[in-house]
Subunit: 424 residues, 2 copies
């Protein structure tokens, strides 16, 4: 399934030290080379003429830049059947991402299970693994061992050696400064302000990149999902917590100082319900798993909540609601109303064209029932324009690991594009 070992970029995440002095790219500036690469990636295959037309640049510029990208091993030419509508005799040549250029792994550590995938440079999944675990925070050594074991297992499953990987992306829930690789707080880690990236890089022997789970889902949408062809969209995730990611001009927006988009901890009620973050009135204290669970015991009149795991308890609550239990229904109803409020706040602040609701809890259709969406509409500013499109993506268990792989792909791609630029 793989081509020869891919060329590794000279240095991960930084510009190479040679070549002409070029100003550092701001986070949102997108040079033409990158725009070309991203369009090819998004389209799967595309012709040079289409690139020139879509980007409004000369065919000569496209030829020059795509030659550089081919020489750097990132793109490849693909012979396609003669275009039916062109009427010309030449066989058309399309460009595609060279799948074998790089392999990366994505790992997601969470409370109930750890997951991992290996994907190639074109985003194809070579292997995926999920390992259930006992809930609770891990010490650093436990975390390193868990990541190490997962990586060994998923590489074996993909039939590759670990050093065939160019990079690893790893996600955890919580507050993560992706730029510095520091996890300030995570429910799955005992330590605070942990500089996780150097520890992992050292322990795994590979470049590692870390981000939080909502950003991973957003990257998964950007690289593999609905966001491939969109420049701006919002993603809201609901699981144990409520997260948000935002793509602005084809890039994940992380806030001006690296930790933003914490929609779940925006306050929707002064002195309101207690959140697991320790504060009161946070949106997720009305919508996330734990918010539902703590009322479920009352609604279902359970003698001993501990006999049911969170997932089973929520399933039971959902079954009771569907069967007409008024108390169970009111729990979902209230959560849906607060979700609507949170989504309306997203619209009023960001005015996105698309909001993707993503995550396992999207199986509970109360969250996007017509009633909820109507409520959201009633809390949005009435500007006379149509509401943003809402898409529901109930991805499978490996979603988060795919997002972690997208994080690694993003870093590898940027380093590779920088390296391509520096080719003399």
């Amino acid at each position: 399934m793989r081509a020869a070992a891919p060329p590794k970029p000279r240095e991960m995440g930084t510009s190479p030290g040679c070549g002409p002095l070029i100003p550092p790219l701001s986070d949102t500036a997108r040079p033409l080379r990158q725009q070309i690469f991203e369009r090819v990636r998004a389209a799967g295959q595309t012709a040079r003429a289409s690139l020139a037309r879509d980007l409004a640049v000369s065919p000569a510029s496209v030829t020059t830049l795509t030659s550089e990208l081919i020489e750097a091993g990132l793109l490849e030419e693909i012979a396609t059947p003669r275009e039916a509508d062109s009427g010309r005799g030449r066989p058309a040549v399309a460009l595609g991402v060279r799948a074998g250029a790089h392999l990366v792994a994505g790992i997601k550590l969470s409370d109930r299970e750890h997951t991992a995938v290996v994907v190639d440079f074109a985003g194809n999944r070579l292997a995926g693994e999920a390992i259930p675990r006992q809930p609770g925070p891990m010490t650093l050594p436990e975390l390193l061992d868990a990541a190490d074991a997962l990586l060994t297992r998923v590489c074996a499953s993909a039939g590759i050696a670990r050093d065939a990987l160019t990079a690893v992306g790893l996600g955890v829930p919580g507050f993560v400064d992706a730029a510095s690789g520091t996890v300030h707080w995570s429910p799955v880690i005992t330590e605070r302000h942990l500089p996780l990236v150097p520890h992992l890089t050292d322990h795994l022997g590979l470049p590692v990149h870390v981000d939080n789970d909502a950003n991973l889902v957003t990257l998964a949408e950007l690289w593999f999902g609905a966001g491939r062809t969109l420049s701006d969209f919002a993603v809201v995730t609901i699981e144990h917590g409520l997260g948000m990611g935002f793509v602005l001009n084809h890039r994940l927006y992380r806030g001006a100082r690296g930790i933003g988009m914490e929609l779940g901890h925006t306050k929707v009620q002064m002195d309101g319900a207690l959140c697991r973050c320790g504060q009161r009135g946070c949106l997720e204290a009305y919508v996330a798993d734990y918010a539902l669970v703590r009322e479920a015991q009352t609604a279902l009149n359970l003698p001993n909540r501990d006999t049911l795991a969170v997932g089973a308890l929520l399933e039971s609550l959902y079954d009771h609601a569907k069967a007409g239990n008024a108390a169970a229904r009111s729990i979902f109803h209230r959560a849906g109303r607060y979700l609507a409020l949170g989504l309306a706040n997203v619209v009023n602040l960001f005015d996105p064209g698309l909001i993707i609701l993503s995550g396992d809890r999207m199986r509970y259709d109360y969250l996007y029932a017509q009633e909820t969406l109507s409520e959201m509409g009633a809390m949005m500013l009435d500007t006379g324009r149509p509401a943003p499109r809402i898409e529901i993506h109930a991805w499978g268990d490996l979603l988060w690991a795919h997002g972690a792989a997208a994080l690694a792909l993003q870093e590898v791609t940027e380093a590779a594009l920088d390296a391509a630029r520096a080719v003399p």
Copy 2:
């Protein structure tokens, strides 16, 4: 005070139709020419060598690009005293923005008064006017007449003819789509979804650009205030309503579809206080003028509220609070707590390094009392990092008009930079 009539860009707001095909700039991409211009503008005066060093580009590139900008009439050379620390004999030559390159007017229409300024291309104010008015929404003809009268008056005050202006910026409160020039709703306009820009352009005989008031204040900070040297910051304004602007990578961020940052209408209480937008629980329904005024009558036990204008009523309420009136204090206390909640939400979502609190109401120091800022800190995510810096800017009456002038300057500058790029 003025140089000869400035060269007008060939077409406002669009790229000229000649020259090589260049891809349209995305909102956040900042070509080097623009970065150079913005650095000179921000610094007031700067040497070519500093530009090369700060932007990490070759002196030759800086010389080429600054020559283009000088040729296009945007920058000029300024002889400065020999640099004391250089030890060399040559007189230093700095670059500055050519003040006379363009003149623009800024107009702000609001409920209680209309204001206007004329500024030159370097941001110097040549004249400013304020005209009090009877509150209430205007019809389109009334609005056009008001803008016309203001423009005549402020041009006379500046001693210039109207056609010496390159463009006019105009601000109104409400929901404005700046890209299309449409005012979807404004408390000072009777019509909804009004395409104001073509009407104004036609009536005033000049290119006109329109935006909402919070964006104007943000542009004023970006062009003339604390934002001159910052790439990312948030501005929160409190007056009759509560507004927000956000600068991302040196540019005003308007939301993905043009109407965003409506912090005042984010919901902070399900089914809460009635907002003037018609919905319930909006932040501004707890913080803005009208929210305070409707409780002031109760607190001050006024027989007839109509005898006091809003401003006088708020002043009276403030005086009573300072004198120890518990009910009056509780009104400001609650408003301060909700402002803290709103600011904490801004921090949790955007993670800005700086929040500027701007507007006339900042004279009421309860809004940024230590108690309020502590409360904000308690509602921010505890990431272990310091809270963002908060600055208080109680600008004068002409702030908003200055922001409208900044809007015009921004459009004129972009058109001029586009035109400079197209010079063969």
